[in-house]
């Protein structure tokens, strides 16, 4: 065996080295929270991020140190994070709360508050806008046809209606609306963004929209009045943990103080500044609050920070996976029956959807880097376990028998014979795990783990290709780099005797 391989094998035998590896991982894992600091979360769409920034700004004004965990993966993740105390508050809509989260479709605000209180949660007074579904059409056309409300559509059966696919399907979407108002038209399903262009070009007369969509003023659309109150109310509120009243009472007062201060048009304008004019959410929020915006980071600094976060996610999860998967692979090779169980289980882990794993992890590990690392760790197990197993069981029988017939103790057999002979296959497994890991780690942004997924998510949300590339290009480069690095390591570690043998 050549010097480098011997050295590596020796190093790995030292328990203290493993301890050191773990010690390096711990600060990354922990990300300790300042006891006084409060955390506000936001969902993965612009309006939520702006409201998150406003909430965080209010906390700072009230003298409470605050952190904003922006654009987390979705309603479920935030709801669980709030329940587990990983975030202290986040913006939500009463409709979502009643229909999705609490499953109390007909509840009024008092009932919702009571249900939240049972869970140790609370909600602020409505902020002043109702971001429900609405129907919209070009205002010039609406004026010409004298249409001001949904009921007015009945008189114009020849109007062309196009709705987003979700709206076409939902019972509280088009089917219900049509029945409630007795509308005579037929509607087509299409992509939401295409609908705006269809309206602008005149190919379409009416579409569904959200009340605070930034595009409403941009395309000069009129929102038709829902005079029968068909659409449920989606009043914007902040949900927060009840214990916040003791921990940060001034912040709660400030959040409650927003009651009625943001109407639909105001929210629409804020959305438009971010989505259409490309301003940063933090700047828009600071401007609305009348405070100075924090200086946004330059692109290079931003990418550097994302790179460090991404490397930490990949490095820690892969390091931990190595510590677990290598011994498991060896065990699987030594004990065939147990090996089948180990291989099946690690194969099973691979089939779990990553978002589901993230959600499972929140009660255990909260949000941020830890659950992402745990998920990446689980996904890294299979390639390493499988290749370690395959590498060891693939050693020719006569060599394994000779090793034992010589009277080598099992430990020596493992370290001096089996692992070096299986090294190539094992390294190939680690390489596979690392490359997959770099890609999967971008999903970590859904639970606030940072990394290259952060600009990708923001880019998708803002329809900003440059921002998407800011995450996607370094991620691809990192994957290639990791691949190259492992090929180099493989070349350095493969003993000369094996390279010679391979040529024969």
């Amino acid at each position: 065996m050549n010097a480098a391989a011997t050295c590596l094998v020796r190093l790995l035998r030292r328990p203290c080295l493993c301890a050191l590896l773990l010690a390096c991982c711990t600060p990354l894992m922990a990300q300790q929270r300042d006891a006084a600091e409060v955390v506000i979360g936001s969902k993965n769409f612009t309006e939520s991020v702006i409201l998150g920034e406003i909430g965080a700004g209010l906390a700072r004004e009230a003298g409470v140190p605050a952190r904003h965990r922006r654009q987390l993966g979705g309603t479920r993740i935030l709801w669980r994070a709030l329940a587990e105390g990983q975030v202290d508050a986040y913006p939500e809509y009463t409709g979502t709360l009643a229909l999705e989260l609490l499953a109390m479709p007909d509840a009024d605000h008092a009932a919702l508050r009571a249900a939240l209180a049972e869970r140790g949660l609370a909600m602020t007074a409505p902020l002043g806008f109702n971001n429900t579904y609405a129907l919209g059409m070009r205002s010039d056309r609406a004026r010409a046809l004298r249409i001001g409300s949904i009921g007015d559509l009945r008189a114009h059966p020849r109007l062309r209606l196009g709705f987003s696919n979700e709206f076409m399907q939902r019972a509280d979407g088009w089917p219900g609306l049509r029945a409630a108002y007795g509308l005579p038209q037929r509607a087509n399903g299409l992509d939401h963004d295409l609908a705006y262009r269809g309206l602008a070009s005149g190919a379409l007369d009416v579409t569904d929209l959200y009340r605070t969509d930034a595009e409403i003023p941009y395309y000069e659309l009129a929102v038709l009045e829902d005079e029968r109150g068909f659409f449920p109310a989606y009043d914007a509120v902040y949900l927060y943990r009840a214990d916040l009243r003791e921990r940060a009472s001034r912040w709660v007062e400030a959040l409650e103080g927003l009651a009625g201060r943001i109407d639909a048009d105001a929210m629409q304008r804020l959305n438009a500044r971010v989505k259409l004019q490309g301003e940063a959410e933090a700047a828009v929020a600071a401007d609305w609050l009348g405070v100075a915006a924090t200086e946004p980071q330059g692109r290079a600094t931003r990418i550097w920070r994302r790179t460090l976060e991404h490397l930490a996610l990949v490095g820690v999860s892969l390091g931990l996976a190595l510590l677990v998967a290598l011994p498991l692979g060896v065990l699987a090779a030594r004990r065939p029956r147990l090996g089948q169980v180990v291989l099946t289980l690690s194969g099973l882990l691979q089939t779990l959807p990553s978002l589901a794993v993230f959600v499972f992890m929140i009660p255990l590990l909260g949000i941020g880097a830890k659950p992402a690392i745990a998920a990446l760790f689980l996904y890294s197990l299979l390639p390493i376990v499988r290749n370690t197993h395959a590498g060891i069981t693939g050693i020719p029988r006569e060599l394994r028998e000779t090793a034992s017939a010589l009277g080598l103790p099992p430990r020596t057999r493992l370290w001096r014979i089996e692992l070096p002979l299986a090294l190539r296959t094992i390294l190939a497994g680690i390489k596979t795990a690392a490359v997959i890991n770099v890609g999967t780690a971008t999903l970590g942004a859904l639970i606030g783990a940072g990394g290259y997924g952060q600009p990708i998510l923001a880019g998708i949300r803002l329809d900003d290709i440059a921002l998407i590339l800011e995450g996607a290009v370094p991620a691809a480069a990192l994957a290639l780099g990791v691949q190259g690095l492992f090929e180099l390591v493989e070349r350095l570690l493969t003993p000369r005797g094996l390279r010679l043998a391979a040529r024969h």
Binding site: M1, E398, L399, E401, T402, A403, S404, A405, L406, G407, L408, P409, T412, R416, I417, P420, L421, P495, R496, G497, L498, L500, A501, R503, H504
Partner: protein
Amino acid sequence: MFELHHVHKRYGRTVALDGVDLCITSGGTTALIGPSGAGKSTLLRMLIGLEWPDAGEVRFGGEPLRRERLLEQRRRIGYVIQEGGLFPHLTARQNVGLVARTLGWTAARIAQRSDELAGLCQLPDGALRRYPAELSGGQRQRVGLIRALMLDPEVLLLDEPLGALDPIIRHELQAQMRELFARLRKTVVLVTHDVAEAAYLADTLVLLRDGRIVQQGAPRELRDTPVGPFVHEFLFAQRSLGDLP
């Protein structure tokens, strides 16, 4: 040195050894011969605990072979297979010193012993520094032999040791091995399918067929007083140039 009592072994429905009783005395060279599938390799592998009898007992040096004592017992036995069974990722020298190193021998002692054995086995200078892939078949076989002799074991077990060599090298190595065995006075058990090689190297032949011992004794005894037609047939089944018309 080895005693086998009523040893049975089967693989699925195939019977490999069917009640073998055998006593291998110290100091002699014994060759196990017989047609393919007769059980000669199984028997040899049983002597070093690579196979275990389904019934019966294998004794080594007066005590039964036991899994818990195997490590120590194996170090008293040298084992060589076809092509030497060298580890491709280690140099010849590392292959040879592997066990001695785990036993805590000093590097100097290992080097001295391997050089001494290299001389004895007529391995050319510098060959110990090379990797198995850089050695010829005959050299690999010699390195395998040196590795087996490293701890100066009481017994040498050889499984088809010369099977993969071309005839000239094989002939040369047969002569050297006979000389070596005579010099070292070790108990040697070897398996070969070549009757002439067995008769040349061994003082006792054990002829097996279908997992049973048909006859054992000195080569001359088997030739002159075969216990049945099969023994005669087997001993003279190989062609030589003398058969030319």
